[in-house]
Symmetry: C2
Subunit: 504 residues, 2 copies
């Protein structure tokens, strides 16, 4: 379909941060706005030298922008890549035909393979508005995709971005399905595996609904936004890496969907499988170990749910040619002490350095996973993996390898902790009976995690421990007094988030 | 939950039109942003003298706003109602507990009555972001609400706004479920009914997914944004009114939901029933006649679909104490000639005035509905309603009543037509076999309807008529050359939108 040409406007960076939605600011009386009939909330195609983005229009009736300018939000500015003052063309974007498939799905008709590929291609190209993304995500959530649709979604997500080819041989990967605050084993497992001779180029995500993703945590100690050639150099030099998957356009549709899933706090088995496996396939992995914590307040709440999610992951993996092994782990309580990027990094460093006070649960889980991975990767025989992993950690081999990886990624630095802190104390004496993962995570998020890296909380009492009345149960860390007060105001209404039994 | 106080900022109207989502603009380095830990896309509560709104934050790193100002988008400005420079307080809004109910629904659990009431109350108060509204609407679409949930949604929507009490006696209403372009019978039926002595205070909606709603069409000839006392005065003086329901906070949650349903182009039986019947109940109606056009490209596509929607409307109406009669009508082709606010108004006026060239189909449908309504209202015996209606129209009684209503609403004016027009001609000679309502509506929307009142299209050929090759099938009307070109570019790819049989 022909797009009517329009007189060009000059691109202007408005320095308005709208998070990730590209927004265009234009004067109501500017000639383009008038002649094209654009209105507030119109979707507008903005083109510069062959690049084209689609942005949502905000119409301006004030003087901080002129009629000759097309003002771009930070997200629009990044995506378009035009210099200040560049001539940009504005036009109505063609109607998004693939939205018809989303509408049909909402009304209960299954996606065809071709339909889902069209949707994912348009999503990856940034054609969907946030509202349209929200409708797509909601229509797919709650187990509304069957296996065929999930496989098609996964394949479409791989196909919509870059892929990395590592040549012959096994390429190991691990992934945790999440829901367990502090479960930051990747940063320990990768250096163990690499030190033992496995090839493990690990791309991680940022948090979706949790207070921190591995990429958020790793970023507090080393750069994680590496491109594909840089990743290749790091892995060829050290055997492993721990980088952010979002900067390499591996499954870029996933990154777009995540920006909507996060504020909606929605995810589903199918989206989880497509998200995880499309990233792994695009990253060139051949063997993927999946850590699935199961517990009443973890993401996977029961063994039944674990079995069906595990089956789905196996089925989708088989269809797209990946080997997957799923390990159900204890998901009853947070792992380690810290929750939030910098606090979790501190726990990881303590384990790697063999500090006397290092959280034992984090070390044990990491060794369990690393042992399994050594066996899955064929360099330890059945039953011997955990011992090999333990010795690699104990001798400092894992710590040296971790520093080597950090240096190759751009340099290691200690994480910066928060200056705004306050303890939440126990109202009674007794044994800690339970810790509610979801509400603990919520407090960390209210304190600012993961966007504020130093924010989160530090648990002082494990399940089973005896605490005195007035003893600190946890410390909230925040980047500002307001965020601290906000998190504490919520925590004060949740007196049983760390449940202390009535032994007094 | 206590909200931490913050230093006040001065409210500033930014004159940025973000359509209906309230947006707050704040400097990244302003003290409140810093101390509260606000970030782009944060939801922020803005308070002024007991009024509180929740807005989405855009963070600014430029000088067109100072660190002491809280910049408000047009929607935020309207909702808050503070004067320029007023001191406003900013805080984190409390978490929206009712979102948990939406999430549970996405995962397949039915809403309880209490849950849906909480959701609707929060929606009506503007607490949901557009993303969250999109998730709610999508979760309810596609027949995912059962009868009990639909009744609960309807009751909750009535309860969340104002209601009008007309005292004893019948209060008549009619509603068309839509999907049939140009079907603007309300503006003919209301004056007939009022002229015959019925009381008919009609509140209409603006377009959701169509090129025009009755309120959009009526607004091209008379003011429609009346408050409750004004409506009461008009109805007491004339017996009827045709006003926009959105300006009177009857079922305000419906107005909020519509702003998301419109760009998503999603609606469902349950939402339709809740939307229509909550408005009617809140407006104080006792008897509602529903015009349900059925046709392959109308909103209701088959007799089966009509029966199930009709049953749903009857069931919900009974549960909330309304009498509903449903009339299935022919939905095979657009009604009248014009599609778009001003063009449809022109057709209505022609029928009321008895012009020789007035569209006969519009007149006939209006008389069918008016006749049914006179019988339903108890002032015509069975089988005699249509004749009474016809005589009221033929004698000019309906036209005089219409002018009387317009004057009472604020004054009558002829609709303004577009200056940018172009014909789309037939590529062959033959009989018109079919007209695709959906694609015809799309062309009208691409031309700018309903936001641009003069935009739309004018049909020249009815189904069955013989057209010569090169003869105009329809004329596109637009408010700007760009919008005209845009609509025509789409129309050019849809050569069969008016299907002409191969008689040549």
């Amino acid at each position: 379909m022909a797009e009517p040409a329009s007189a060009p406007l000059r691109a202007r960076r408005m320095r308005i941060d709208t998070y990730q939605e590209p927004v265009l600011f234009m004067r109501r009386d500017c000639p383009v706005c008038q002649s094209e009939g654009f209105e507030a909330q119109s979707r507008v195609a903005v083109s510069w030298q062959g690049h084209r983005i689609v942005a949502t229009l905000n119409v301006v009736d004030a003087d901080f922008i002129t009629g000759g300018e097309a003002g771009l939000s930070e997200a629009a500015w990044r995506l378009l890549g035009a210099p200040e003052g560049a001539e940009v063309q504005l036009a109505h974007p063609p109607p998004i035909e693939s939205l018809g498939h989303v509408r049909a799905k909402v009304y209960g008709r299954p996606f065809s393979d071709a339909a889902i590929a069209e949707v994912v291609r348009d999503v990856a190209q940034g054609l969907y508005s946030d509202l349209q993304l929200a409708a797509f995500v909601t229509a797919c959530a709650g187990n509304r995709l069957d296996l065929r649709e999930t496989v098609a979604l996964t394949r479409a997500m791989v196909g919509a971005g870059e892929t990395i080819d590592w040549g012959p041989g096994r390429v190991m990967d691990k992934h945790c399905v999440g829901g367990l605050p502090g479960n930051r084993t990747t940063m320990i497992v990768v250096p163990i595996a690499a030190a033992c001779g496995l090839r493990m180029p690990k791309t991680s995500s940022r948090a979706i609904t949790s207070p921190a993703g591995t990429a958020d945590v790793m970023e507090t100690v080393a750069p994680v936004a590496l491109d594909v050639p840089a990743i290749r150099r790091v892995v060829e030099a050290t055997g492993g890496c721990i980088v952010w998957g979002g900067s390499v356009r591996l499954s870029p549709a996933d990154d777009v969907l995540i920006r909507v899933e996060r504020p909606l706090d929605l995810d589903s088995g199918s989206q989880l499988a497509a998200s995880v496996l499309s990233k792994k396939a695009a990253a060139g992995s051949t063997h993927v170990l999946i850590d699935m914590p199961v517990g009443p307040t973890a993401k996977v709440r029961s063994s039944d749910a674990a079995r069906s999610l595990s089956q789905l992951l196996q089925d989708v993996a088989r269809a797209i040619g990946l080997q997957v092994r799923v390990l159900e782990t204890d998901g009853n309580a947070p792992v380690g002490r810290g929750i939030g990027p910098a606090l979790e990094a501190r726990d990881v460093l303590a384990v790697l350095r063999g500090d006397a006070g290092a959280p034992r649960d984090l070390a044990q889980r990491s060794l369990l996973l690393a042992g399994e991975l050594l066996e899955f990767g064929g360099i330890a025989s059945a039953g011997t993996g955990a011992a090999s992993a333990a010795s690699t950690l104990a001798t400092g081999g894992a710590w040296r390898k971790f520093l080597e990886i950090c240096e190759a990624q751009g340099g290691f630095a200690e994480p910066t902790l928060a200056t705004h802190r306050r303890d939440v104390v126990s109202a009674r004496s007794g044994h800690v009976v339970a810790i509610d993962n979801r509400r603990i995570a919520r407090i960390a998020k209210l304190a600012g995690a993961p966007k504020t890296p130093c924010a989160g909380l530090e648990l002082h009492a494990n399940v089973g421990r005896f605490v005195e009345r007035g003893e600190a149960l946890f410390t909230v860390h925040a980047g500002s007094p307001g965020a601290l007060a906000y998190a504490l105001a919520y925590a004060d209404t949740q007196c049983d988030v760390v449940l202390v039994g009535g032994d007094d």
